[in-house]
Amino acid sequence: MKGTNMLTDSDLQAIGLTVRLAGVVTMILLLFGTPIAWWLARAKTSWKGPIGAVVALPLVLPPSVLGFYLLLAMGPHGPVGHLTRTLGIEPLPFTFRGLVLASAFYSLPFMVQPLQTAFEAVGDRPLEVAATLRASPLDAFFTVAAPLAAPGFLTASILTFAHTIGEFGVVLMIGGNLPGVTRVASVQIYDHVEALEYTQAHRLSAVMLIFSFLTLLALYAWRPNPKNGG
């Protein structure tokens, strides 16, 4: 019977893939975005402006621009393509790793900016105190700054995860629409609509809508009152 509320296997596969992509990207950006955010929060050089602007680029850049550049860069004639060939790795377009790399670029500001704000809010004082207690800068970061910035880490992770879930344009351009590899939920919905499978498009879209709403609801409900200026 057609009236059941079941998603198809390929829909479930797309959802699973999307969650996996968002999870991996969030992990990677925690690793690489944190030092960038820390540097942006603490640096006093004139480089801060340009680097901050580069990090924020994906906020304003059309995904097609990023997709176009990435497709050329990762292709056999591009710099990344040359690198993967030299290293003997499979070319990145149409692979999950390629999507991870692209999404990491695309979601970078969503990790870095909340973290940067959180680090700036920590201020110099606690770190100076830590230094007088002979904590190394790395010690001070992990025992003082990071715990103080914990809410920032949570916000940044949730935003990065949610933003990666919502990615579409870049994936469409470099993904090649492979089931289980690069066919994420947003692309699956697009395909359903193009193939006039509105019922399936409705179901999967509803799942995405509810998920997105709950994610943001969790973020806003959890966020402490703005009275501390955070």
Partner: protein, 256 residues
Amino acid sequence: MKLLRPLLIACSLLFAATAHAEKVTVAAAADLKFAMDEIVAAFKKANPADEVEVVYGSSGKFNTQIQQGAPYDLFFSADIAFPRALAKAGLAASEVKPYASGRIVLWSANLDATKMTLASLADPTITRIAIANPQHAPYGRRAEESLRAAGLWEKVESKLVYGENIAQTAQYIQTGNAQVGIIALSLAVNPELASKGGYWLIPDKLHAPLEQGYVITKRAEGNALAHRFADYMGSPPARAVMTRYGFVLPGEIAGN
């Protein structure tokens, strides 16, 4: 206030521009990209006062969009089934007319595809093959049919990557991200693509015909320009362009 005035003027100009001009907007399947560009240029040259705007994309998407009220006056589909569906839904202002049959080719930017056949796709050195998405792109469907008819589908399926439409499929191959792929002949003969690699015409007995059709949409019922442009598609100059791009025209017999 200083900023506001020029902004208001710009806005009013924008609205004025859309209000006055006599124009048609054509939704055309991606395989028509190069041929239609030439036809529209020739039409505009002969009729300088007329404004014809073309949007290229996948036929399935246009079909959906027109059903949802998209402002297209003419729809040239790569699969005649889509305009027929629109006519059935009462969204057409003309009968559905076939305008061409498409052909598919094996094309590569780096390899000499003229020396290949479909069987070459099973070669282990070929790791990525691009076709259009068979789920909704007519050229993708025909590509899948051909591969199945040649008994190669199981062997090549794991190497396939899917373009959103036939133009994106060509772009995957052009950038070298896929070594080879199946695209429309009309794209492969374009000078930009023809200058690289080469193509091999896939025998049309391996797939159902790619019967392409157009329709004038309901919203263009009273638009004389839409009807004139549709008529122009059947004129000798337009037919000559279509033939040059490898389309088989209604009333003609396929070459091979």
